[in-house]
């Protein structure tokens, strides 16, 4: 702790229009340490990494490298300053062979080869075209390419995410040794097991601010969860739902039954039920397989195993139309994915009506108008600029994506983060609408990246980590700390006892032993 930091960033801020992605982030990395960067979804981790490596400029803040102020304006400048990132997506150009890719960045070949062998790939032919190399190996090559230029600070973003166990082990070993040789590594991961095995300290971000720097000692998970959640640590009680909001009595047969569903390597063995009249929440960190789950249920991709049953009947979806016929409609979080932006509100809402071949004929305009108008009224869409959807505000656009399926009277809505990036008022309206929909005996599967939404909307919460369902909570138990712990794959044992979170010292021994004993999904 006595030596000067290799990298010292303070007061870093970044705004996108009116939205502050980073407000006051700081990060200080000492020579020879492996430093974890942590934070919930949207806390600003990736923005900070992009600023440090020169991919985007900051609006404010000071970055010192070895004590000197540096203004890193481009990834090339970042390289020269000794900062090198390895991102989640492979960065080799697919149509070039490995050697040409190395030349492109001026990477020395022999050290690269040595590192590749070191990382557990003995038989790489550097004349192979990058496109033909499996994803896991590509990620290792990215790492080797970064290591070969001996950077002072290496930034690893979810490095082990796509790796099989043997490669992941080698990678972690190499990262560990990197620290021993006086250089530093910034390690971004959602896996507590890796972080506790590898890292010396962790910087925790929340809402664009650095809220704490902690030493990694046994039991520190609780402290980190607490930091990520901030002051909202007190157990929140579910507001009693009025009779109208209460879920309709569940019938014996589930509306939707998912059994052992698998999608590639991203989703393993997921099973749950969804009943009529229920809003079931799905909570997961980014990239834990929730995208694949929703895509499979929506008919966008085919699962590689398992079964989906609708009303007790097995269902095979090969196109979204199959899912829609079964009464499952997908509302994506990204509005640009769901809307024809140059068309009117009316046409966008009526789009599913014309989808089937038999509805290609003349449109019954009056009927359509009635349905559209009632859906617009129900969602209170501001129709002043209804000529083109792209002129609506984000919240109103999001309402249009939902209104479409309200107008179509769909039985089950699959809402994927429908409140992302919209104002508070509209969020409230969407919560209310989803409760109403459930009150009418329909069902909703609701993925959200904002944990506080769970208590407002859901009856039950399904938590996914590493492609598996790690826990299912009744809403009464699903307070934010419990959800956050589960989302990070920590065991449920201590979830009822909020005292642990309030006072980490008394619980360190217990939670250390529990996190050492196998955390679900932690082994890749």
């Amino acid at each position: 702790m006595t030596s000067n930091p290799l990298l010292d960033a303070t007061g870093v801020a970044k705004n996108y229009g009116a939205v502050a992605a980073l407000r006051n982030a700081s990060l200080s990395v000492l020579p020879g340490e492996v430093h974890a960067l942590m934070g919930a979804n949207g806390a600003g981790k990736s923005t900070l990494v992009k600023i440090l490596t020169g991919a985007i400029p900051a609006n404010a803040g000071r970055i010192l490298i070895r004590g000197e102020a540096r203004d890193i304006r481009s990834p090339a400048a970042g390289r020269r300053a000794g900062l090198l990132p390895v991102y989640q997506e492979p960065s080799l150009i697919p149509d070039l062979d490995v050697l040409s890719n190395l030349r492109l960045t001026g990477t020395p070949v022999e050290p690269f080869r040595a590192w590749v062998r070191e990382l557990g790939i003995p038989d790489l032919d550097i004349r192979d075209t990058a496109r033909d190399i499996p994803l896991a190996v590509l990620r290792v090559l990215d790492l080797a390419r970064a290591l070969a230029v001996e950077p002072d600070v290496l930034l690893l973003d979810e490095m082990t995410a796509a790796l099989p166990a043997n490669l992941a082990e080698k990678v972690l070993e190499v990262v560990r040794r990197q620290g021993d040789s006086g250089r530093a590594v910034i390690f971004i991961s959602h896996r507590f097991v890796e972080i506790s095995a590898l890292c010396d300290r962790a910087t925790v971000l929340r809402d664009g601010e650095t809220v704490g720097v902690v030493d990694i000692v046994p039991g520190v998970e609780e402290k980190i969860v607490e930091l990520m959640l901030g002051t909202r640590i007190v157990k929140t009680h579910v507001a009693a739902r009025s009779a109208a909001q209460k879920a309709a009595p569940a019938p014996a047969r589930p509306r939707l039954a998912v059994r052992n569903l698998r999608v590639g390597t991203k989703l393993n063995d997921v099973s749950f039920d969804l009943a009529d009249g229920e809003v079931a929440g799905v909570v997961a960190l980014e990239g834990q397989g929730q995208d694949e789950l929703f895509a499979a249920l929506a008919g966008s991709i085919r699962p590689s195993g398992g079964a989906i049953e609708v009303d007790g009947q097995p269902a095979k979806f090969s196109h979204p139309i199959d899912a829609i016929r079964a009464g499952l409609a997908y509302v994506p979080g990204d509005r640009a994915e769901a809307l024809a932006m140059q068309r009117s509100v009316r046409e966008n809402i009526a789009l599913p009506f014309s989808a089937a071949l038999r509805n290609w004929g003349p449109i019954a305009m009056r009927q359509e108008r009635a349905k559209v108008v009632s859906a617009i009224a129900r969602l209170q869409i501001d129709t002043r600029a209804q000529g083109e959807v792209q002129r609506l505000s984000g919240g109103n656009q999001q309402k249009v994506t939902i209104a479409r399926w309200i107008a179509a009277d769909t039985r089950t809505l699959l809402c994927f983060d429908p409140t992302r990036g919209i104002d508070v008022g509209t969020k409230q309206e969407i919560y209310k609408l989803l409760r109403e929909v459930a009150g009418h005996g329909k069902s909703v599967l609701f993925y959200t990246s904002e944990l506080e939404e769970v208590q407002r909307v859901c009856d039950r919460v399904i938590v996914i980590f590493g492609g598996r369902v790690v826990d299912i909570f009744a809403v009464e138990e699903a307070d934010e700390p419990a959800l956050m712990r589960a989302a990070y794959g920590l065991p449920r044992g201590a979830k009822a006892d909020i005292g642990i979170l309030a006072d980490p010292h008394s619980s360190s021994a217990e939670s250390a032993s529990s996190s050492d004993s196998n955390t679900p999904g932690a082994t890749p």
């Binding site: 929506a298 966008s300 196109h319 979204p320 139309i321 829609i324 016929r325 997908y330 994506p332 640009a336 994915e337 769901a338 809307l339 024809a340 932006m341 140059q342 068309r343 046409e347 009526a350 789009l351 599913p352 009506f353 014309s354 989808a355 089937a356 071949l357 509805n359 290609w360 004929g361 003349p362 449109i363 305009m365 002043r384 600029a385 002129r391 609506l392 505000s393 479409r404």
Partner: protein
């Protein structure tokens, strides 16, 4: 953006005109058409009479129908370059088969390649995702080749233009071109299809955001296959009309109309990137191009200079029109 619509303060005249035109994109096109006709009248006093108007309409109609094919395919972000070949094929087959066959059989034979090429285009673009430009260019070349082979087999029997097609293509009733009997219902059908049917809605939606239509349950290949078949059939019908007008079957009869048909659709305000446009604008675009051709013909310039001028005017008109209509 949405706030500009409700701001109460007075807007400058220029902006008001601009907004007026942006809301009614047909107005500037009609103004341009009138200006061109006036220029023509000034250059050659007396040329604009009943006969000239009927003649202009007769020549504009085949272009307008082919431009309708382009409008519909361009709405989905595509293009159909095979329409020239399809029109030529149907015209040529009609003219040669009518010599020995019953008119109904000749008609069926003439439309066969149209349906076939449309189907191949649709499956290529919709199922195998070949780029429409390449797909339709390819089928167009294949069609031309087939036509050349076919020509050898009928070289002995000769060709004849059926009376009915000559009547439809060139005839006048009370000074009104008979071709309008075909064109008016056809144009009405296209306009109705685009604005009031499920299929028309899907063309716009698919061109605007294909992913969104997929999530709404639209099966892309169905829409695209139907679209290219319809486009091809329209082109086949145009070929029959055109042979009645030109009265000289050749192996490149309608080829020179292909690129003007794209230009007519673009001038008429249809975006080549999809999702935006309509058929009424295209019709006026076809009229503008036809009047422009007459205008350049009477200027008695050398052919090269005329083409240069034609190209420049098309570019200028399109750019100016987009500036007027787009509010960005």
């Amino acid at each position: 953006m949405s706030t500009t619509a409700i701001s109460p303060q007075p807007v400058p005249f220029g902006r008001r005109v601009k907004r007026f035109m942006a809301d009614r994109p047909l107005i500037p096109l009609i103004i341009l058409l009138v200006i061109l006709v006036v220029i023509l009248q000034v250059l050659r006093p007396g040329i604009v009479n009943e006969r000239w108007i009927a003649n202009t309409i007769k020549f504009a109609i085949p272009l307008a129908i082919l431009a309708g094919c382009q409008t519909m395919t361009m709405l989905t972000g595509g293009i159909d370059l095979s329409i020239g070949t399809v029109a030529t094929m149907s015209a040529f087959i009609m003219a040669t088969q009518i010599v020995n066959q019953d008119p109904a059989v000749a008609f069926a034979l003439a439309m066969m390649p149209a349906v076939l090429i449309g189907l191949v285009n649709g499956i290529g673009v919709g199922v195998f995702r070949v780029h429409p430009l390449i797909m339709t260019l390819g089928t167009s070349l294949i069609g031309t080749g087939c036509l050349q082979v076919y020509q050898r087999t009928v070289i002995a029997s000769g060709a004849r233009i059926p009376d009915f097609l000559a009547w439809l293509g060139t005839g006048l009733t009370y000074g009104i071109p008979n071709a309008l009997l075909l064109f008016v219902p056809l144009a009405a059908l296209i306009v109705f299809t685009l604005s009031r049917t499920g299929f028309g809605r899907l063309l716009y939606a698919v061109g605007d955001n294909e992913r969104a239509t997929r999530l709404s349950g639209v099966q892309y290949w169905q829409v695209i296959t139907a679209l290219y078949v319809i486009s091809s059939v329209l082109a086949g019908i145009t070929g029959l009309l055109y042979i009645g007008l030109i009265k000289a079957p050749s192996l490149s009869l309608a080829e020179p109309l292909v690129l003007p048909s794209v230009a007519a659709a673009v001038i008429g305000g249809t975006s080549i990137f999809g999702g935006r446009g309509g058929y009424t604008g295209t019709i006026i675009g076809a009229l503008i191009l036809t009047v422009l051709t007459t205008l350049l013909t009477i200027l008695q310039m050398p052919e090269g200079a005329r083409r240069i001028l034609f190209g420049l005017i098309v570019l200028f008109v399109t750019a100016a029109y987009l500036r007027i209509v787009e509010e960005r």
